[in-house]
Amino acid sequence: MAERIMVKGNEAMAEAAVRAGCRLYFGYPITPQSEFTEYMARRMPEVDGVFLQSESEVAAVNMVYGAACTGHRVMTSTSSPGFSLMQEGVSYIAGAMLPAVFVNVVRGGPGLGDIQPAQSDYFQSTKGGGHGDYHLIVLAPGSIQEAVDLMETAFRLADNYRVPVMMLADGMLGQMMEPVVFPEYVKLDGINDHSSWALRGTDGREPHKVTSFDIDPVRLEEMNTETHKVYEEIRSKEIRFETHDLEDADYILVGYGTMGRILGSVVKMARKQGIKVGLFRPISLWPFPYDELKKAAKGKRFCTVVEMSTGQMVEDVRLSVEGALPVHFYGRTGGMVPTPDEVFKELVRLIG
């Protein structure tokens, strides 16, 4: 077995990005994500990569935009207010159909909020925080190991579909430590061929054009329609989720990321007392596992969604089950994290 290493979430995700072939990092430090940027500052020179601390998040995202035009693996990482600042650039990158990876280590909001863990950027991440008809692929890891494993997936999906990918973490995942096994370095030869569109110099060929702009609405509609064909393909192929103890369950808990993981403890507590509870943990938040959740919820008495927010993903859960069963919500906000005990108490109250 490969060596297990005790490592902080932020640093683990950064190392995983390096191993996934990212050699271009642009970012601006912000708590609770700063160790990510700090790690890249030390690590990128070791692999002949580029680390650039920008003057702001607005600059960072535009550096990502420029670098993504070359077709090389590029990323940035930030936390909630920083990602808000990046929205214009994210929309341009999505509009220009460029591969790039964003990591958001979410903290309490809105506004300046605080620096504690939160999941209140779900709407912004999954419904388009910037303007226009676009989507990010959004992946929500529940543990540091999963974040490490999903990082390569994030870059691969970005490359395959030419769509920006978001890793939606939270302050808890960024700050905690647990043992991790890192994957081998990805060999980039042959899997990163974007020569048909990338901007790498016009020697011996016609110029390429990368843009999110067309003044002619007929052509812009065609462009957007092409993009949406890609989104449809992603919807049909890239659903990710995990379930526990669902088969004989009377009740379903639904949570993503760190909260989904914490709900695992609630399931254990409930099962010990003979309450049949199962867990559905979406890993891809866009595309959301609507059909899979609908199927999982069939015949159950009710579903309880738990989030570190005042209720965002719960809307997608309601869309999934189409009124077939009651959907309850329990959440904490402002950086408060629901503990297994308080969720269990709420579950018992709902069962009545």
Binding site: M172, M177, K268
Partner: protein, 179 residues
């Protein structure tokens, strides 16, 4: 106990975060499942700090708890904050050099360690945290001393490597203090 849900709490600067990191890393070397979760924020030396460590034979779902079964208490504010939360039959290790009062709980095991005095005898007050860790380990056997040594070697590198022996000595003295 197959699952250790520990909260270590004290003043910033007393080394409670290090207690947790060494314990969690030692758990990893013992091939257990383990997590370390810091309270973080605009913390400062002299402010309160705590971390939650889970060491388990099984995969860990929640790395957070508000009902720990073990506490390491390094100052009075931490005693007041966490004594209400610990499970019945839990274990509380108290650094009595700093905490000069008793807990209100009479349904838990208590270990009192005069950690600062023991650390001063070793010539360095800063290892009081390792003295307390030693006392905790003697009582719980949560991880092996061998695992702790490997964790210290991982954590204390470069110019700090010279402090490994002192830290191990402090852990051993802490173990001896528990009768």
């Amino acid at each position: 106990m197959s699952e250790h849900l520990l909260v270590a709490a004290g003043f910033g600067g007393q080394g409670v975060m290090l207690i947790g990191q060494i314990l969690a890393t030692a758990g990893m070397f013992d091939n257990k499942h383990t997590t370390w979760l810091p309270s973080y924020g605009p913390e400062m030396r002299g402010g309160t700090a705590n971390c939650t460590v889970v060491v388990s034979d099984e995969p860990i779902a929640s790395p957070i708890t508000n009902t720990p079964n073990e506490l390491i208490i390094m100052n009075i504010p931490s005693l007041i904050k966490f004594e209400k939360e610990i499970q019945s039959d839990g274990l509380m290790v108290i650094n009595t050099s700093v905490v000069d009062r008793d807990t209100i709980r009479d349904d838990i095991s208590i270990i009192k360690v005069d950690a600062n005095a023991i650390a001063e005898k070793l010539g360095n007050l800063k290892v009081a945290n390792m003295v307390v860790l030693g006392a905790y380990l003697k009582k719980t056997g949560a991880v092996t001393l061998e695992g702790v040594k490997r964790a210290l070697e991982k954590k204390l590198t470069g110019s700090k490597a010279t402090l490994i022996d002192l830290n191990i000595k402090a852990i051993e003295e802490g173990m001896k203090s528990v009768t």
